[in-house]
Subunit: 333 residues, 2 copies
DNA sequence: CTGAAAGCGCTAACAA
DNA sequence: TTGTTAGCGCTTTCAG
């Protein structure tokens, strides 16, 4: 049997409540008793049960994190950053991958509630559910890398529209006139695409259409993705620059372009979004729009912690994106 | 206040114990009461508290996972696989990144105990601690991608020695005579290096020495790693083939080789270990020794689950590695 | 087949 | 300053 507060109390010859008080630094206890109790805590190797105090206090020091896929480098980076920030404030992270499947999202959310997490972070799907607030029954919740436009839920995100605009503009500045964009139809990307399209219009270029703005389903296999990207590469007139809304697509686009005997960036320029390990290791290294993930993680945990402790009002924080110039974009002459 | 079993009991006009029985399918209850209770459970939207039953049953359905770094693609792949397998059996995963720092390992381990995880999976450091068993106080524990040679702790791992042997041999079969190997000095890699060295000896080539077997500290920065790899590339006579003990090193080696105007694989061949997203996306795609991670994850969870339910004896499972031929190795003439 | 009651390990209110 | 007690939400005897 696990060694409990009772055992410590008995050994030290005091009441359980006294032990509890020295553990938690509450009430007032004489220095001697404190020392004696601590001695016996050491002696017995006692560790307070998180479960029991969770039951008592209704606080678990656990945070639930819903992400699409832990095996995706972007999300594992994010998860790692959140893990560290959470730890600074004494929280553990319970991570669940949803694969953008609504049933998984709901069932994991229920699991979080069942296990009484103190708060929930959502970085995943939930596009059409307009009653998350009901589902999570008042639990503190914040979105990261995404917003909940119709619901007054806190979020730490990024100006995706302007990110798309910036990416397109950078290409246009390099004299590209025939752009294409490729994205999964998930939160944020639609904004990126809109921003890109606007930049094209603002530059007086012909509006983008369904042939050069490519949405690839979240459920698509690698093969299907390859097929779509190849199609795009083979359009006539073929695009001279492609905006890829994530690093995986960027990497694949580079790879497939090479297979088509297109030199990157000489024959075709590629600009990405996000900045995972992949970006620097590609050949050529990827010029990309980076999200300030570290700051976002920090703010997310900070905000969630605040909401856990006191009911602060909901808040949207939207950070700016940064363009990292590497070698996958070249000017056209 | 959270809605509890009491509320359901009251609403259904039965005792708490009755509700408990219908939830858990224990005892024998008449069909009518079952239906009535279930009705009210629905009606009230009742979810049993995991915390309370954890306290009562001493079972949390949580597993603690200790890995070096969630942001490393190899480990996030592993974590994702484990997450899925754990979920199949109804467990959650609590993931902690240790960065190979012993203090973190110990403190996370304690946290796991405090929160009463049902079992622990270790994929991280703990090289010199020979009393893990004492630390985890009898909790079920299994190592994945690593073993505990001196301690009779269960592990699901891989034949690293033969993996190293195989990698070197493959190169030797391609007529390479001047090999180098680069690795972090962590569990498993030492075996890989030994295997590689043995293959070299068995082929009658001159023994490998400290100039062509390069251990790069786990704490090294990217810059330091680059420096070491460059050194290796510039050795004279320069190696014609390099074995990289992880995907990141392989990617960097390819990248730096190119910077030195070495064509891969024409001028220098590279073979890696593990098979993350990176491997397929490199240019050229990486020939590599793959661990059967999926199987390993499945076996790990299965074993841990068995140990949780009944005290089965400790067991070492060691799987074979597979060589994936891609395009980063070419023969020498 | 159903219910009453004890107790998992802890904390907080109240008494001493 | 310290101790007694009740109770968080659940499960499990044991009686009826």
């Amino acid at each position: 049997m696990r060694i409990s507060i009772k055992d410590v109390a008995k050994a030290a010859g005091v009441a359980q409540s006294t032990v509890s008080k020295v553990i938690n630094n509450t009430g007032s206890i004489s220095k001697e008793t404190i020392d004696r109790v601590n001695y016996h805590i050491q002696e017995l190797g006692y560790e307070p049960s998180g479960i029991a105090s969770a039951l008592r206090n209704n606080k678990t020091k656990a945070i639930g994190l819903l992400i699409p896929d832990l095996a995706n480098p972007f999300f594992s980076d994010l998860a790692r950053l959140l893990e560290d920030e959470a730890n600074h404030l004494g929280y553990r992270l319970s991570i669940s991958s949803t694969d953008y499947i609504k049933e998984k999202e709901l069932s994991y959310l229920k699991m979080f509630l069942k296990n009484n997490v103190d708060g929930i972070i959502i970085a995943s799907g939930m596009e059409e559910i307009d009653d998350i607030k009901k589902v999570v029954a008042g639990k503190p919740i914040v979105g990261i890398t995404r917003e909940f436009p119709s619901q007054n839920i806190s979020s730490i995100s990024v100006n995706n529209y302007y990110g798309g605009y910036k990416a397109a503009n950078y290409l246009i500045d390099h004299h590209h006139k025939n752009l294409a964009i490729i994205a999964k139809p998930v939160w944020g990307n639609k904004e990126r695409v809109r921003g890109c399209q606007q930049a094209v219009i603002d530059a007086g270029l012909p509006e983008m259409n369904s042939r050069n703005t490519l949405f690839v389903e979240t459920t698509s296999t690698f093969k299907e993705q390859h097929w779509h990207i190849k199609q795009l590469l083979q359009e006539t007139p073929s695009p001279t620059a492609i905006i890829a809304c994530n690093n995986l697509f960027a990497a694949k686009t580079i790879q497939l372009a090479k297979q088509e005997r297109l030199s990157v960036p000489k024959d075709i320029s590629i600009i990405g979004f996000d900045d995972t390990v992949l970006a620097q290791l590609m050949d050529p290294p990827l010029t990309t729009i980076r999200q300030p993930l570290q700051t976002m993680a920090k703010e997310t945990i900070k905000l969630l912690d605040q909401k856990i402790h006191s009911k602060t009002s909901e808040l949207q924080l939207r950070l700016e994106l940064e363009l990292i110039e590497r070698d996958s974009v070249a000017p056209i002459y």
